[in-house]
Amino acid sequence: MSRRKRMLQDLDQDIREHIARETQDNIDRGMSPQEARYAAMRKFGNVLRVKEETREVWTLVWLEQLVQDFRFAFRTLRKNPGFALTAVLILALGIAANVIVFGVLQGLVLRQLEMPHAEQVMTLQPKTGGPFLSYPEMRDVRDSNNVFSAVAAVQIEAFGLEANGFTRPIWGDEVTGQYFEVVGIKPFLGRLLERSDDDHPGASYAAVLSWPAWKNDFAADPNIVGKTIRLDKHPYTIVGVTPEGFYGTEKIAEPDIFVPLANLATLNGASWLDSRNYKNIFSVVRLKDGVTKPQAQAELNTIATRISQQFPKEDEGLTLKLAPPGLVGDFIGGPTRGFLAAVLALAGIVLLAACANLGSLFAARTADRTREIAIRMAVGSSRWRILRQLLVEAVVISVFGGACASVLGWMALTGLANWHPPSRFPIKFHVLPEPSLIVMAFLISVAAGIVFGLMPLRQIFKTDPNAAIKSGGAPSSAGRRWALRDVLLAAQIALCCVTVTAAFVSLRGLGKALTMDLGFNPKNAILTRFDLSQANYASEADADHFQRQLLERIQQIPGIEAAGYANTTPLDFDATVTDVFSQDSTDLRHSKSAFDMYFYHVSPGYLAAAGTPLLAGRDVSFSDTPKTPAVAIVNQEFARRLFHSQQAVGRYFKNRNGVSIQIIGIMGDGKHFTLSEDPKAAAFFPISQKTDTRTTLIVRSQRDTADIVSAIRETIRALDVAVPISESGPWTSQLGLSLFPSQVATVALGVFGAFGLLLSIAGTFGLASYTVSKRLRELSIRVALGAGTKQILQSALGRMLILLASGSGIGIALGLAASHLLSAIVYQASAQDPVVLTAVAFTTIVTATLSVAGPVRRVLDADPATLLREQ
């Protein structure tokens, strides 16, 4: 029973007793019993009110003391800004890291797409290889299944949008008729696309705008439905607007417009809808009510087997599977989920370490204040009162920490949501911070506050005021046993070393990636991209004519060293892969191919402009035409794999259509899809043998980038003002997306590395100060007796050094082991690198020195005479 309850229970009896005594006194003075009782009652006053007030006293005093505690907490924290700042900073960083990681996880993985019964919507993709299907494969599934209520294809496409007298490049989804049945949303305005819109090419020229496009590009025009716009010069009627919050079935994309896929031929220049060889579409499906995923998968297996038997040449070994939608199925979804789970685990461990750390920081501080606490206890403060004081202090710190963490997390997530990665693709991260995250941050911080606030509990309850005041601190024997605290510190130093090692490995990898041989030289090269099909160059001859004319004019710009054009460039994620067959093969099935290669169509001058070395043979030329024999320039890897030698010029290979192609040149190897890939075979074909409307113009010049870019834009505009330039700028900045995964990994690991460093500094510092303050008296006696500096340091901090050394050793070993995992994301990440090892060792030594410097100085500066007198 609490004191308060006991006291209030006895109150009734106390008051009765009091009145009885007063009555007795009055009787003794000669009053009649009746009179005496009335007089006593009158003198006592209103019994009910007295009881009421007494009851209130307990709450009032409690509140008063709480306010006092808060005031005192603020005052002491202001007096120790170093301690307060360290604690708040550690907590803020630890929680902010968790909030950010969790926010991204929630945005990209946990959150379902905003559509009715989102759990029924899945992505359909092959079990192996890329995420794409061919249109006929999607059609086969759509027309022969009993498990899906709707099946649709999506093709992401760039358009030139002409509205209000402007042409500008936008991104949109070309979708099949059942697309809006799959997503199941209701239109915000007008109607959505229906099956009849996609029935056959030209069935309908209806377009649906996305909410952001309607809001930003059409000024939220309420009468938009029925208006006509032009897409790649073709008139389309806007029939509706999708609701806010809908951005297709991919979580990192933001399409502006939705149009029927059936019109592909007019929009794209050519249609591959009937070809099983062009695996170009994403497919999304909606499960029928009551159909389970295993049932659907079983049916898909049957359909895939049937298709591969029916079309052995194109669809040999076809397999189909369902994958969660949102991140291109399992293609980037898998790695993203894995990476985020790992980072979340890391963030969680770091938060735990931060709490343990703050715990020992608080314990050290409590030890420093042993005398103060002992005095307070000696004059009658209850242990609970002192504990409450410390808890209030912890809560103040954790609330500050939580607030800083929320602000940091909110800023980071908002920044991420508004950030467009360096890419011409419409990538957007839908990771807007939600209030629930902030609530979570506060809950974590208060929980952490209570956890670390309670750490010194035992210390306080053990304190014997007499001993504490006499000796000025707890008995120093406590510093001689190995405590759990020590093990925790070693474990934490090890963990921090892992994060530091990972950060350095990843930083070094990024550095290497920035200077490695790409197979071309992006420095001083300007890329300009546009698609002539968006400007109504439907025939190949027109496009070819425009491109050649442009190249001639570009070459006349002063200061141009080389210029050329291609359908696409390496590392642009637009590269296509095809099968290579040896010259003598006759079976042209995929399984019989020699290997696969990346291929590009390039103009004369491209190699010089891109800085790709031609090692043997000749460049392509405009005299290579569809009428002359097919030729190609191949890279060294290609020659090595097909001929096992570099002597390839003049020899032949076959493509999947059985056409023999003569090799006219050999070029150096390079990177094609990702920076971390192994050497890949590649071939450059003359663009004059196969015209492409997609155009990437490459110009090499030493002149100022901005001048060249504006000169190029002017030249293009002078030729045809309607060509929508999707981007124009230095190649180095357009490579951003290739560096993106390693940059993300480096930033994430760098933050954790820095955080790990801070933690180990704080932890080591905390424990070192704790040890020193507990033994300061003993040490000063030894100084007084003539002990040397070395002996004192050894006895004061020897154990710290053992902890630091063993923790760092284990940490570096673990970091080296873990860096193998990194090599998948970061190019050439290797922990065996002497630079990395030196950097980690150096950092560890600096960290250790920094964190024990304070306590060491305190020991050495201690004046034995003053200390002994004081205590």
Partner: protein, 120 residues
């Protein structure tokens, strides 16, 4: 408005009452009725305490840790709660007494400056 003034007066009274209780308990632990009687007796009945208001004050002092309470039997063998001054309370009493002396001195100086001149 009037309630505010009243409240201030009550608060002042409460603080004074607390001080008087502490001072009384300095002589030794005793029960509630005896405290009331002692205050009346020692002030020559000038301070007429409404006896009931003693109890909220006693509880406040207990909660603050300045006094403690224990069961006991009084002189005529009746059961009663005895209140005892704690070390903290003793310190508080010293503090409050010196504050009170200063305050009383200051007020006296303001009210009778001539007297003071004459004395010196």
């Amino acid at each position: 408005m009037s309630t505010k003034e009243q409240k201030q007066r009550i608060e002042l009274l409460q603080g004074t009452l607390d001080l008087l209780i502490l001072r009384t308990l300095l002589l030794g632990p005793t029960h509630g009725h005896a405290i009331a009687k002692a205050i009346e007796f020692n002030s020559d009945d000038v301070l007429q305490v409404e006896q009931g208001s003693l109890y909220p004050a006693l509880h406040r002092l207990i909660k603050r840790g300045w006094i403690s309470a224990e069961e006991g039997t009084s002189e005529n063998n009746r059961r009663a709660k005895f209140y005892r001054l704690t070390a903290k309370g003793r310190k508080q009493l010293e503090l409050e007494t010196s504050k009170w002396d200063k305050l009383a001195g200051a007020i006296a100086q303001i009210l009778r400056p001539a007297n003071r001149e004459g004395e010196s």
